[in-house]
């Protein structure tokens, strides 16, 4: 997702929750062609901490929702696997998975969430990429039908109190595990709900008919545990969770192996797998999974309190030498209580605990390579299956 600078407000779209944001005192900013709330009255820091402590409600209606339908799920999955290097065919019904669109050069043209909804695949893609993604998907027609969903809002409820809040509206919410998907009736509306998110916390993403979105948002906000959370805290939450921001941490110039996203490409799509390759850039991408990449995305903890933001160059030594990498996103981590960042380094310098230097206002400040995420993920995972003797 990338912000468009210098756009006239009149050119911007509004989500179905625009009036509610204004009523709640949000500061609205242009983001990916939409007027979006960057923060509410609590401010970024308190919104971030509240989400980790209780629950936060996010409007992510600017993201693209798309349905891909074939003669059956398998047909839709097979078509999508020609664009996405992920095991979509083997995704269980009502399960969700992270995916990537790759380029012929082996780069990443967007990241997305994929859901098996029985007879079709439901996709959620980044706001700034959605037009290009839809055009890209439409190259699969007529084998499948690609339908952008423009009459539904998307809201996220994130944080440890999310289950209690959502289960009060539909008890089935409590039965879902991390990456499960279900159709729930929330405040009378048919909602497509996944137990996932972009904060590292337990929580849900809820696709709701736009006419019902404001009433549902108000109902969720009426719960004592829930506060509205803006894009500012959404960014610091995902950064602490070690999650990539498209257009910053990953783009067409980074490969999955470089981006430390190899885990997203299941064995069945790799060399020797039953459905090896068959997606854009497969030769480059799969070879790199075997041999490793020259540079790798890592977590970074700058020394002291000063945040190191996107674009800060990284050096091997305190003095001299050319930059060896740079920070791709960074800021202050309210839960970590210090600066956190992600960036790319030569792979030989990516061992945990390695010290490099980031140049800030002409001074080189030590930066330590740190395991991601910066805060432990608190998903409600499915219990592991007990092995039968």
């Amino acid at each position: 997702m990338d912000e468009r600078q210098g756009v006239k407000v009149s050119d911007l779209s509004r989500t179905p929750l625009y009036d509610l944001h204004v009523e709640l005192g949000a500061k609205m900013v242009p983001f990916a062609g939409y007027e979006m709330p960057v923060q509410y009255k609590l401010g970024v820091m308190k919104e971030h901490l509240h989400t980790r402590d209780k629950a936060g409600l996010f409007d992510v209606s600017h993201m693209g929702q798309v349905i891909v339908t074939g003669t059956d799920y398998a047909a839709a999955a097979a078509a999508l696997e020609t664009l996405i290097p992920v095991n979509i065919a083997g995704l269980g019904e009502n399960r969700q998975r992270y995916g990537l669109f790759t380029t012929p050069e082996g780069g990443i043209s967007d990241d997305l969430m994929l859901t098996n909804r029985g007879d079709h695949v439901f996709l959620v893609v980044n706001a700034a990429c959605k037009e290009a993604d839809i055009a890209h998907l439409k190259t699969l027609e007529p084998a499948v039908t690609v339908t952008p969903i423009t009459d539904r809002a998307l809201i996220a409820l994130q944080g440890p109190a999310s289950e209690e809040v959502l289960a009060a509206l539909d008890p089935k919410a409590a039965d879902m595990a991390f990456m499960d998907v279900a159709t729930l009736t929330l405040d009378g509306a048919e909602c497509w709900v996944s137990r996932s998110g972009y904060t590292g916390e337990d929580g849900y993403e809820i696709s709701v008919p736009e006419a019902a979105a404001e009433a549902l948002a108000r109902k969720l906000l009426a719960h004592d545990a829930v506060e509205p959370i803006g894009l500012g805290a959404r960014d610091s939450l995902r950064l602490e969770a070690g999650l990539c921001l498209y257009g910053h941490d990953i783009d067409t110039e980074t490969t999955p192996a470089e981006a430390a996203l190899s885990w997203a490409i299941q064995t069945v799509r790799r060399i020797g797998g039953a459905r090896e390759g068959g997606f854009p850039g497969d030769e480059t991408i799969l070879a790199q999974l075997e041999t490793g990449a020259g540079k790798t995305r890592v977590g970074l903890r700058p020394e002291g309190r000063a945040p190191m933001r996107e674009g800060v160059p990284l050096f091997a030594a305190e003095e001299g030498g050319d930059p060896i990498g740079q920070i791709t996103s960074g800021g202050f981590g309210p839960s970590v209580e210090g600066p956190v960042a992600m960036g790319y380094l030569p792979t030989e310098l990516t061992a945990e605990g390695t010290t490099v230097f980031g140049e800030l206002r002409g001074r080189r400040v030590p930066v330590t390579v740190t395991a991601l995420p910066f805060v432990p993920a608190r998903f409600k995972r499915k219990p592991a299956k007990v092995q039968q003797a």
């Binding site: 401010g43 970024v44 820091m45 308190k46 500012g232 309190r305 000063a306 202050f332 600066p339 206002r361």
Partner: protein, 119 residues
């Protein structure tokens, strides 16, 4: 008390002047997470960039509003930058300066003029 167009406030206390940033400035910046203050004893000139602040959103520089010598800095603010958001005109002060020429303050706005400017 005087105000600059850069949203600093200056409050004379005897022969020194306390400097901070206004509530309007902190609202615009968002939560502060980092403050770097000048060295006590340093001599600064008007418009020198002597303070670096970082909010959750961005970095900004704060300039010396007048010539003078830095006589004290708010160490508590360095440890807890949120003080500038919580109490911008009180505990969130930045530094105290001994003016080289107190008349440099004459050109700055009073509170009414500052309020009119930010409206």
């Amino acid at each position: 008390m005087k105000f600059t167009e850069e949203h600093e406030w200056l409050r004379p206390e005897g022969d020194i002047v306390v400097v901070g940033i206004t509530e309007h400035a902190t609202e615009q910046l968002g939560d502060l997470v980092f403050v770097e203050l000048p060295e006590v004893g340093s001599t600064v000139a008007k418009d020198d960039e002597i303070v670096v602040i970082e909010s959750v959103k961005a970095a900004s520089d704060i300039c010396a509003p007048i010539d003078g010598e830095i006589v004290e800095i708010n160490e508590t603010l360095v440890d807890n930058p949120a003080l500038a958001n919580e109490d911008p005109l009180g505990d969130g002060w930045f530094f105290k300066i001994r003016p080289a020429d107190a008349s440099q303050m004459d050109g700055y706005m009073d509170e009414a003029a500052y309020k009119a400017m930010i409206e």
